[in-house]
Symmetry: C2
Subunit: 312 residues, 2 copies
């Protein structure tokens, strides 16, 4: 009998649940609605009930959970999560272990996504992989020799807080000019809004019915698809900025593959080319030639599959 693993991707509006095989292929999946008002006891009760109803649950030999935020991976505690505002120091690993009667491991969403990308996008065929998740913030995960690299205190992988412009914008982390401050969804939308005010864009203005506060990366991707010059420029700039930071990461870590995932990566036609161009211009030739840069084909599954394979 092959081994199966349970994955739980604890998002703010939806908890994705799946049982996968050792290669990350989903055998069975489901989900549970979440909202910010649910305390951890109620939500965990719902998750456990749903998990136990899965056909493959009886074959599960371990479970993994991915959570955004500050995770104490060693002790299995969710210290704080922006998606779960009522959760404070929840010993999630211990609680789940008791109810599921199998080993449980938890980790932050970026590490889990990187592991998902390693199994799904790279088919476990690389020695080292970097995953960049583009969402409200910019996260990162590093896989070395098939395992999540966590660093000395479990804090490694914060690509979003590498400097793009050291004299630049003040970031929420307290530093200046972190790349997240330029290409994270909220920063990018804000930047776009100001640019549209200054330069005008009929297409974007129409897409949001004149309400520029509604401009999101999704709108910008749609506008670029429709041929909007300003939207294309915004994506070009975003791709170049990320490419500059990734060129430095490539010179430092010489990875085999960089996988871009997350909501913003949907604009991949407009983003990826510029990321690659900038890397080619800036990184060492040997290292950049050896490094594939792709957009994940599995953005919406990386979390739940990566979580399951944490348990492997």
């Amino acid at each position: 009998m092959s081994k199966y693993y349970l994955g739980i991707d604890l998002g703010g509006t939806e908890v994705k649940i799946a049982i996968v095989d050792g290669n990350g292929l989903i055998q069975e999946e489901t989900s549970v609605a979440n909202n910010k008002k649910l305390d951890h006891k109620k939500l965990i009760r719902k998750i456990i009930a749903r998990v136990k109803a899965l056909k493959y649950f009886q074959y599960v030999s371990g479970a993994g959970v991915g959570v955004a935020g500050d995770i104490d991976q060693v002790n299995g505690v969710v210290r704080f999560s922006p998606n779960l505002p009522l959760w404070k120091k929840v010993p999630l690993e211990k609680i789940l272990k008791k109810h599921l009667s199998c080993p449980v491991v938890i980790d932050n969403d970026a590490n889990v996504a990187a592991l998902g990308a390693y199994f799904l996008d790279a088919k476990s065929k690389v020695n080292n992989l970097i995953c960049v998740t583009l969402g409200t913030g910019v996260g990162g995960g590093i896989i070395l020799d098939g395992k999540v690299y966590r660093g000395s205190t479990g804090s490694a992988g914060e690509i979003g807080h590498m400097p793009y412009d050291p004299e630049g914008l003040l970031c929420s982390c307290g530093s200046y000019g972190c790349i997240e401050k330029y290409i994270g969804a909220s920063s990018l939308s804000e930047y776009a809004k100001n640019l549209i005010k200054a330069k005008g864009s009929k297409i974007i203005t129409k897409l949001v019915n004149g309400s520029l506060n509604e401009v999101t990366p999704k709108v910008l991707a749609k506008a670029a698809e429709m041929g909007d010059v300003l939207a294309k420029t915004i994506w070009k700039e975003a791709g170049s900025k990320l490419g500059i930071v990734l060129a430095g990461v490539i010179n430092l870590l010489n990875p085999e593959i960089i996988v871009i995932s997350g909501g913003i990566s949907n604009a991949n036609n407009f983003l990826l080319k510029h990321i690659r161009d900038e890397i080619r211009k800036r990184a060492f030739k040997t290292s950049s030639s050896a490094c594939k840069v792709i957009v994940s084909k599995y953005t919406h599954k990386l979390g739940v599959v990566g979580a399951a394979l944490l348990a492997k």
Copy 2:
């Protein structure tokens, strides 16, 4: 009988040779003069004669060599070295193996220095270490789990070519604003020269007898020690710039220790404080608190000891 290892640090003016024990303690050492006119056959002959005359040579169970430049670590070939201009694609590993009758491994000088720092400065007591070598250029080496991390094509560790200012100075690597272009010895000297011309410094001008082309990091360190304000400012700026890049490296890799080595690190009183200050201001708190930043106490031995321990 304990095991002993032979280390060879192939510099442009001097080849350092040592036999060390498994902890990196030097049992016996010597050196051979080098110059740019020596072809590889002549130099290797001199090295082998000297090595064979060492008392401990009979106990050596492996040898390692560190060389600046483009090294094919897998095949043991020195493709190109700025210190050894007559060497082109020299199969150094094969040649030495034949004459020394023991396993031989070669690597670039920055990786070898990092390994030296791991054994000597960190006493093998950390899981991950980054070594930054400040010389004419800025090199870097990464040690994970006690081993050199090389990346997918052996090119990892190029900290000197991470961006400090993406819109900044054109670097010899073809990119813009690499940190090496600001704090590498030649760049720093050039920058200082122009600053002295513009702002004046009696102390520095006197130290070089009015010949500003003679300004080197050593002179700048001396001037700072003598209280020269301009020299202190130059070190402060250099430390801050390196600190900005290292803060990003800390957010990415969450290392336990960063060891600064190389010629310029001699100005450590003036440099280290500013590196640390900038890291504290910019890196994530958990990661920066967990990361010691020190200047190596063994700068001149790191290469030869690290080379020997490559063979371990």
